[in-house]
């Protein structure tokens, strides 16, 4: 059973609260939820909506046809009525007028009733969220009583946890004993800053300096002094940091950069999502120097890959870019999988204070003094390449790619980052390819964008030699992973499904696109 609920209204009306209440109740009953947040760049007014998908099986996407619309205003009804299924239900706002700001709580109550969930479960959730407020409970009850039950979401025996990518990156950082997170606010990267600031105690520290340029340079200073340091931004802020990344390439000071992309170029469509910054993650910064680029595809992978990023940067004195996007950072995923064991991140190098330690953005000799010698310049350039070789070898210990479905399936879908979970859902919707492992499709998820795994070439050749279809799925205009694969392997993927309207794929939309190839 899978249903899709849209909750819409003006910014500030508490749309997210409805999603939160309902998804917490449903996951506590063992269901999987996925909550997509769609909002323009404004603080009050406008039209925001969430789409909450609920299923008794694993999901990581939403569908375009709606079972329930929760309308906090008239505009929501008008804008979304065409997306309703024939027997769809609308929860309106008119009958709850006298409740004022508690409209969202009443509508949550109404929703719980329609889903066929016990009233007491609702009351317990409301009490825990609103500090036993009688007013909140009364609003929830009023909503509950206003509806008839339509579905039956009975309790399942399963532990499911809800998480968005921002929280997961923060957890991964805390697991790695991060000392400092330095950032300047920029959507959609700011979520990690908020999550880590909220977790500040006696442990790590979150610092917001004057510019992204100050962010990257102060991070280099802090890491030089021995702090495990991470910074974060989105495209524009990342662009400002790139001179610093280049300096890192010379100075070899460990640095992790969280890059949460949004649609560009320019200020673009700031609160929406696009995978358009792989190119700049791979290449931002002048000169030739080692770097690692990792793109997790769901929150559990965010926890694991943040840990790997900090580990690799510290071990090799390299820059590691952790690539995400608005969809992964802010959508609420649910999972019953626990993250892998944490790798210990140890600062073993000598740092200033313990002795005299120098690091330079200039080419330097072995004592880090400036040199313009041709011989030494060549020697250290060679050393940078050798170091990248060692980094590659270490990366092979981790999951650089993941293959889902039957390894011998006829067709291969390739994707990365936030498209992972919708690809899995779409392939299951086609023929259960992933869940039963017997369908016509398998999915190769690329997690390490640099270094790139040799597995990709093997899989593409295996499928195309056997006459199967290889399909690239990306949420960008030019197929950036496809171009990268072509650069590294010489193989061109002809079938490309690219979406670049800044909205993530709907599961049913992607299914049709794949079937159309």
């Amino acid at each position: 059973m899978r249903i899709n609920i849209l909750i819409g209204g003006k910014a500030g009306q508490g749309i997210n609260k409805v999603s939160e209440i309902v998804s917490r109740v449903l996951t506590s009953l063992g269901y999987f939820t996925f909550n997509y947040r769609d909002y323009p760049s404004l603080i009050r007014g406008g039209h925001n909506f969430n789409v909450l998908s609920v299923s008794d099986d694993k999901i990581g996407s939403v569908e375009s046809k709606l079972d329930i619309v929760v309308a906090m205003d008239e505009k929501t009804k008008e804008l979304h009525k065409m997306e309703m299924k024939k027997d769809g239900v609308v929860i309106g706002f008119e009958e709850f007028k006298e409740l004022g700001r508690n409209l969202n709580i009443a509508q949550s109550g109404a929703l719980i009733k329609i889903l066929g969930i016990d009233k007491q479960v609702l009351i317990d959730e409301i009490k825990s969220q609103f500090k036993e407020s009688d007013e909140a409970v009364a609003a929830a009850e009023k909503g509950f009583e206003s509806q008839e039950g339509k579905f039956e979401f009975k309790k399942l025996d399963r532990d499911v946890e809800i998480m968005h990518g921002s929280r997961a990156v923060a957890i991964g950082a805390v697991n790695s004993n991060l000392d400092l997170y330095i950032a300047y606010p920029m959507t959609p990267a700011t979520g990690v800053m908020h999550e880590l600031a909220g977790r500040m105690g006696k442990g790590h520290m979150v610092f917001q300096p004057e510019t992204e340029i100050a962010v990257v340079n102060s991070a280099m200073g802090a890491s030089f002094a021995g702090a495990k340091t991470m910074i974060g931004s989105s495209g524009g802020g990342y662009d400002l940091m790139t001179e610093g990344l280049s300096m890192q390439g010379m100075a070899e000071i460990p640095l992790v950069v969280y890059l949460a992309s949004r649609p560009g170029p320019g200020t673009g469509v700031p609160t929406y999502s696009l995978q358009n910054d792989l190119d700049v993650a791979l290449r931002g910064g002048h000169g030739e120097f080692p770097r690692v680029v990792i793109a997790p595809g769901d929150p559990i992978e965010c926890i694991e890959k943040t840990n790997e990023a900090l580990y690799l940067s510290e071990k090799f004195g390299c820059v590691t870019i952790l690539l995400s996007d608005k969809h992964l950072a802010e959508s609420e995923f649910s999972s019953d999988r626990k993250a892998n064991k944490v790798l210990k991140v140890d600062v073993k190098r000598e740092v200033a204070g313990e002795g005299i330690v120098k690091r330079s953005s200039y080419e330097h000799d072995k004592d880090w003094n400036t040199t313009e010698s041709a011989e030494i310049t060549k020697k250290f350039a060679d050393e940078r390449i050798k170091r990248y070789g060692r980094i590659k070898k270490e990366c092979e210990k981790f999951q650089m790619t993941k293959l889902f479905g039957n390894p011998n399936a006829k067709n291969l879908v390739i994707g990365w980052g936030s498209t992972k979970t919708v690809i899995l859902d779409a392939l299951d919707a086609i023929d259960g390819s992933i869940k039963n492992g017997k369908g016509d499709y398998k999915f190769l998820q690329v997690l390490y964008m640099k270094p790139l795994s040799s597995k990709i070439k093997e899989e593409i050749e295996k499928v195309s030699n056997a006459g199967g279809k290889v399909i690239l799925v990306e949420q960008n205009l030019t197929g950036q992973l496809g171009r990268l694969i072509r650069e590294k392997t010489g193989l061109k993927i002809e079938n490309r499904i690219l979406k670049y309207d800044s909205r993530p794929f709907y599961c049913d939309e992607l299914k049709e696109e794949i079937l159309g190839v």
Partner: protein
């Protein structure tokens, strides 16, 4: 304690010095060594306790000639890098070296915020009123009308007065020195380094190759007593406008303003704890 000359020798390196012969940067290097050696010999700091961050430009070549920890960073970013070092280990004594171009053109945003953060560090600006390592283009402190290869018709803009900017930005220790008076400079630097929080020391220096019109101002310089009166500091700052009509405006040297404010490590519990333990995040 060790002989001060021995300590000074240890503060030097064997690197070939590439400053122009006779450049006042040699005197600034001497003043810095004297100040550090003084502090080390008194047991205030160990040589390992210092960390420098340097910019790009003639000033910043000092990285190669000073035997203390440090980062030779990017143009304009010395303060940001230095701020980071204090975040990474509040027990390190940070010296940031910059030129007037790096500090007041490329990197002025960092200067404007340095007083607010009040990290425990000292900014030393080698001010020769020109971008000398790139062959003499005008900087924010160059005089109006300065003719260079980049400004053949004369620089059209009036100069910034760094002391006024520093006062406006709430910097808690502001001093000005003359590179040629290296003993006085060393004394001021020692004070600046011991000041709790951010300290700014501007060192007026001649460039022997570029913008020579602003050189040789020694006869207009005079020394002041340590001042902590803001009104008086503003008056002193206004005496010299860096526009350098010859013979106009007295140039005060010494501590123009100082004030005790909470340092960065006192404002953050995490840093306070590290400071008390005498370690950085590494432990």
């Amino acid at each position: 304690m060790d002989d001060i000359n021995e300590i000074k020798k240890n503060l030097g390196t064997k690197e070939v010095n590439t400053w122009c012969p006779g450049c006042p940067n040699f005197l600034i290097l001497e003043s810095v060594k004297t100040a550090l050696a003084g502090l080390i010999s008194k047991g205030v700091y160990r040589q390992e306790d210092f960390a420098m961050t340097t910019d790009i430009g003639c000033s910043s070549k000092i990285y190669d000639y000073l035997n203390i920890s440090g980062i030779y960073g990017l143009h304009g970013r010395s303060l940001a890098t230095g701020l980071g070092v204090t975040l990474g280990n509040p027990n390190l004594k940070v010296l940031s070296f910059m030129g007037d171009g790096g500090c007041f053109d490329e990197g002025i945003a960092h200067f404007m915020h340095a007083g607010r953060y009040n990290a425990d560090m000292t900014l030393i600006v080698h001010d020769n009123q020109s971008f000398s390592l790139t062959t003499g283009q005008p900087t924010a402190t160059s005089q109006e009308g300065y003719i260079s290869k980049a400004s053949p018709l004369g620089d059209a803009d009036f100069p910034l007065n760094p002391i006024k900017v520093a006062l406006a930005a709430g910097i808690g220790f502001i001093a000005r020195c003359n590179a040629r008076d290296f003993k006085h400079t060393a004394e001021i630097l020692e004070k600046a380094i011991q000041h709790k929080g951010f300290s700014y020391v501007e060192i007026i220096q001649d460039c022997l190759i570029f913008n020579k019109n602003v050189n040789n101002k020694d006869d207009r310089m005079y020394k002041i007593e340590n001042n902590s009166d803001k009104k008086k500091a503003e008056k002193i700052a206004g005496e010299y406008d860096y526009n350098n009509g010859h013979g106009k405006g007295k140039i005060a040297l010494g501590v123009i303003y100082s004030e005790d404010k909470p340092a960065l490590y006192e404002k953050w519990e995490q840093l306070k704890a590290l400071k008390e333990k005498g370690v950085g995040w590494k432990g």
